[in-house]
Amino acid sequence: MLDIIDIHKAYNKTKAVEGISFQVKKGEMIGLLGPNGAGKSTAISMIATLFKPDRGEILYQGESIIKNPKVIQSKLGFVPQEIALYPTLTGMDNLKFWGRTYGLKGSHLKEKINEISEIIGIRDRLKERVDKYSGGMKRRLNIGCALLHNPEIIIFDEPTVGIDPQSRNHILNAVKEINRRGATVIYTSHYMEEVEFLCQRICIMDQGKIIASGTKDELIGTIDSDEKTTLKVEGLTEKMIEKMREISYARNLVVSDDSVIFNRKGNHVNYSEIIDAISQEGGKLLSMDVQKPDLEYVFLQLTGRALRD
């Protein structure tokens, strides 16, 4: 449906996007995950036809949207990162204006406003001015304005930045519902859990490049996926620690007060040797926490930095 082929964009001498390529299939929800400044917004701004890449090509249904932006504009819903609404107008006036901008009118527009305001949960506040809305409501209306014309592709640029958990959940459920109804979604975020929750496919971006892409499991599979294990032990002794260090799957073992932390190497091992080492030395295992690798961990492994650095 959408082919992004080796696109580049620089502002002055700063390279914002450096040769990214990916495909978006009809009906899928693809996530662009990366820290602030990774180039996500620049990449999707080019897909949204807000500006042209310096180099590369973007094809929609095989047609270049760089040469002819009109081929995608009426099929596209764009939810910018910043609130893009008229604050002194009512929610209803905003929806009407953006609906008419995409060619809706009369009873059809009215029906769509009713339907969308229901999905985003602001139907009873439509007559109020937008500047009286909470941050979460503005975000939801911001999304609603992009959905009125039943777009085939919807681009969400970090739509949950700076809002309360309740509104965030509302937005995430709304995005899921929109995708379930058949829309193709491109979703950017630096919140790993959002992308994990929503997207079938994920592209991890850093410094203007896609450094990995695939499903969540595929991405985790690309790294040396140790589980981080934390043990709380009563009666911890030096000998006990020495015995644990000798166990082959316990790597990078460190001790902190009554806790022992190590990376468990390999997927098919149990902890019997560890438990034996503790009990043989007269200790008592109080708790064990096993942390499986996630996208945050994948990003850390790939870049040496945390997602929210």
């Binding site: 807000l50 504009q73 609130i83 893009a84 609404l85 008229y86 002194t88 006036d93 901008t101």
Partner: protein, 396 residues
């Protein structure tokens, strides 16, 4: 387009305070000027009577009836001193032999002393010319009347007949306006004669309207700041439609403000603008169009509304000064400033209205002015479109 226009007019409520303040300011200053200057402001002219005859005295008395100029008789030294100290704008010398010329017929020898040229001198020349024409007509009518009656009744009191004929002529001039052309110049109450008040009134109207026009046009920056501009750019609406809707709204607001001031001035403040209102509105339309385009350029140069608010007043005040809204350009000597004035739309709008007032409507000059204003506007418009049309949106 209708959707975009509807939005723009809806959003005008956000600018309502600025629009009202600018309109009220222009009207208030117009009112203050009209009530404080109208009728009381008369440029002073020093009159030096070298002839010292009955005729020269009668002529000076006739001049002193003027409602437009304040003729003050003085000795030559005193008169020159007054002119040098700018207490009077010019001097009028009634030379020796004036009485004889009036009596015998011929060209009167009158001299105007001036320090520099000004628009008021055009008014002075016209006033002296028409007063002399009226005076000599009355004088000759009275002389002829005395001659005719003397032939029928040689015993008449010549002095009395002469005086009564002149008085009758006076009444005739006042009540019948026998010469329409002359009466237009003389009756200053409603028919137009150059009045510097008009210069300032048009100046204020133009000056305040520029603020409204530029700041309404600068809504484009508000849109960029609230990100609706970017959202529009990715919609199927053409960029030209977005810009055109903004320009139409700005132009309409500017014209409404200027039109309101002109109409209120004309009907409620009793200001005589000196030009057919329809023709004048076309001049103002050219001016508003130009400033709508200038607003687009300024909006394209500024990075934010706050930045625009900081530098716009400086540009608007400076251009108004250069364009002669604050003072007549006739007092400017610098060639550079006069050249720069030609680049200011204010100058062209003011000039045509004043020219029409002084010399009547010259259709060629009028068309040139309209073409210059609309041409200037189109150049600025193209620059403005260039600055805004690039799809690359400036990154914040």
């Amino acid at each position: 387009m209708l959707n975009q226009l509807g939005l723009r007019f809806k959003l005008l409520k956000d600018d309502r305070i600025m629009i009202i303040v600018m309109t009220v300011m222009a009207l208030a200053l117009t009112f203050i000027f009209s009530s404080s200057m109208s009728g009381s402001y008369r440029p002073s002219i020093m009159v030096i009577d070298q002839d010292r005859t009955q005729e020269s005295r009668a002529f000076i008395k006739e001049l002193q009836k003027s409602r437009l100029l304040d003729y003050r008789q003085a000795e030559e030294d005193e008169a020159i001193k007054q002119i040098e100290q700018s207490m009077a704008i010019a001097g009028l010398v009634v030379r020796n032999g004036f009485g004889e010329i009036v009596h015998e017929g011929g060209e009167a020898d009158l001299e105007i002393i001036r320090i520099k040229d000004s628009v008021e001198l055009i008014q002075l020349e016209g006033n002296v010319r028409s007063t002399f024409f009226q005076f000599s007509s009355k004088y000759k009518t009275a002389l002829a009347t005395v001659e005719i009656i003397k032939e029928i009744r040689p015993d008449i009191d010549e002095q009395r007949v002469f005086k009564e004929t002149q008085e009758l002529s006076d009444e005739y001039w006042k009540n019948r306006n026998p010469f329409k052309l002359t009466s237009t110049v003389l009756s200053a109450e409603k028919d137009w004669a150059y009045n510097p008040l008009i210069h300032y009134l048009i100046g204020f109207t133009l000056f305040f309207s520029t603020f409204t026009i530029v700041f309404v046009g600068a809504d484009i920056l508000k849109e960029k700041q609230q990100n609706t501009w970017q959202r529009k750019l990715v919609s199927p609406v053409k960029n030209t439609t977005i810009l055109l809707s903004l320009l139409i709204t700005t132009f309409t607001v500017g014209m409404a403000q200027v039109g309101l001031i002109v109409i209120i001035g004309n009907y409620f403040l009793d200001i005589v603008w000196g030009m057919n209102i329809g023709l004048m509105l076309v001049v103002f339309a050219g001016f508003v169009y130009t400033f709508t385009a200038i607003g687009l350029v300024l909006g394209g140069l500024a990075k934010s509304f706050e930045q625009l608010s900081a530098f716009t007043p400086i540009i608007l005040v400076a251009s108004a000064m250069l364009g002669g809204t604050m003072w007549p350009l006739e007092i400017i000597q610098s060639k550079i400033l006069l050249f720069l004035a030609n680049l200011m739309p204010h100058k062209w709008a003011l000039e045509i209205i004043e020219q029409t007032a002084a010399y009547g409507l010259n259709i060629n000059n009028y068309i040139v002015t309209i073409l210059v204003l609309f041409g200037m506007g189109t150049v600025y418009l193209l620059i403005g479109i260039y600055l805004h049309s690039a799809r690359t949106v400036r990154q914040s």
